[in-house]
Amino acid sequence: MIRIAWLVAVKDLRIEARSRVLLWQVLPFGVISLLLAGLALGPQQAGKSSAGPGLFYLVTLFVTLLMINRSQALENAPGTRASVATLGLDPAGVFLGKALALTVELWATGLILLAGSVLVLHTALVGSVEALPSILVTLATLAAAGTLYGALTQGGDGPATLLPVLTLPAFAPLLIAGERSFNAALHGGALWEWWVIVVVALVAYGAVGILLYGVLEES
């Protein structure tokens, strides 16, 4: 399982590094969304408003949905699905590999968006750095859940446009916990209770993905 996971993760990251879809399409979209959020707040409110973490996670949600679609699209190119299926890869390994690659991509994007939120939304630098570990764990959890739901909507004949609707109930608690955690780092408050929610969700989605990814791929 670990061997296949590593193989799939390296393959996905290599494809991403070569195609540069993340760099030239997804990231500019995220940065523009962040700029628009900053403009919506206006110069008087930026830095004073507590909306910064929420806007950061809203933009992260948009970017995550794009990247989940991209991650699944790699496997669904005409003919690729059938050829790779006949390799008989361990589905648990495939899930872990795709989730790992998506996590790395989300971390890279998240770091840039976090820097952007410091610049554009004027979130406090020290608080943003303190929030970084919780942001990384939240993004990893979004990647695990997103990989699972991506297979559900794109495996077989599933409509990819259902992804935002289907993921909303799964993502909402994660985004709320991530936002609360970020806010706690910025303005003080209980940080760890939000952490627990995200970590438990990460373990749960990881376990469900390992157990059920094969079923979802076949559905």
């Binding site: 296949i4 193989l7 393959k11 290599r14 494809i15 070569r18 195609s19 790699l74 190119a77 005409p78 003919g79 690729t80 059938a82 050829s83 299926a85 006949t86 390799l87 008989g88 890869l89 076949e218």
Partner: protein, 214 residues
């Protein structure tokens, strides 16, 4: 099921959302043989190959492929024993020829030397580092054959393998098929028309409306 063939189907039915893709196919294919499935578009050729490859499930009837019961819920064992070459392309477009083959070799724990020899065998020596999406359709087909050479399946399922191949490519392909058959593998090919090769002596099946008609 009785019989010794590497493929044994009895009344095989495949439904897709209630629509029959295969409507009761009986088929036995002996190990080491070449079978060409012909028929017009929509006859069920690709559906038959997908069933044999464990890519689609059996809706009714019985079937055993490479010793694996098609009714088995875990189709991965079957898939590992077959090689599939579809007519669309089949690979990661942003990986190079070599990277695609190394991925397959590592997934199946084959030695990496097999990759270099497969690339040479299909005549892509100078294209090893070319990104797959930059290959011509005929070169992609050769990459598909290299993918199968690395995999060394016991049952080769080739969907319209002559599409996009020029005369030289067809000759090369026929030679490769001869070698594969000599090595003991079984090959099932789908084609619109009977095989043009003169060097091979395939058994030809005609399909229409999801059934084998002759």
């Amino acid at each position: 099921m009785e019989g010794t063939g590497v493929v044994r189907l009895a009344g095989a039915v495949v439904l897709s959302r209630g629509f029959p893709l295969l409507s009761g196919v009986d088929l036995e294919v002996e190990r080491g043989s070449l079978v060409v499935v012909t028929g017009p578009n929509g006859a069920g050729k690709t559906s038959l190959l997908r069933l044999l490859g464990g890519l689609d499930s059996l809706s009714a009837g019985q079937g055993v492929v490479a010793g694996i019961d098609l009714a088995s819920p875990d189709r991965r064992q079957l898939r590992r024993r077959v090689g599939w070459l579809g007519h669309e392309g089949s690979f990661y477009a942003d990986l190079s020829v070599r990277e695609n083959l190394v991925f397959a070799a590592r997934a199946l724990e084959r030695p990496l030397e097999d990759v270099s020899s497969a690339i040479s065998r299909v005549g892509l020596e100078h294209r090893g580092d070319t990104i797959t999406k930059q290959l011509s359709a005929g070169q992609r087909r050769r990459l598909g054959l290299a993918w199968l050479l690395v995999r060394r399946p016991e049952l080769w399922l080739l969907d319209e393998p002559y599409a996009s191949l020029d005369d030289a490519g067809r000759g090369f392909f026929d030679q490769l098929l001869s070698d594969v058959l000599a090595g003991g593998a079984t090959v099932v090919v789908s084609a619109h028309d009977p095989l043009r090769s003169t060097g091979l002596a395939p058994r030809t099946l005609a399909m229409a409306g999801g059934r084998v008609v002759s």
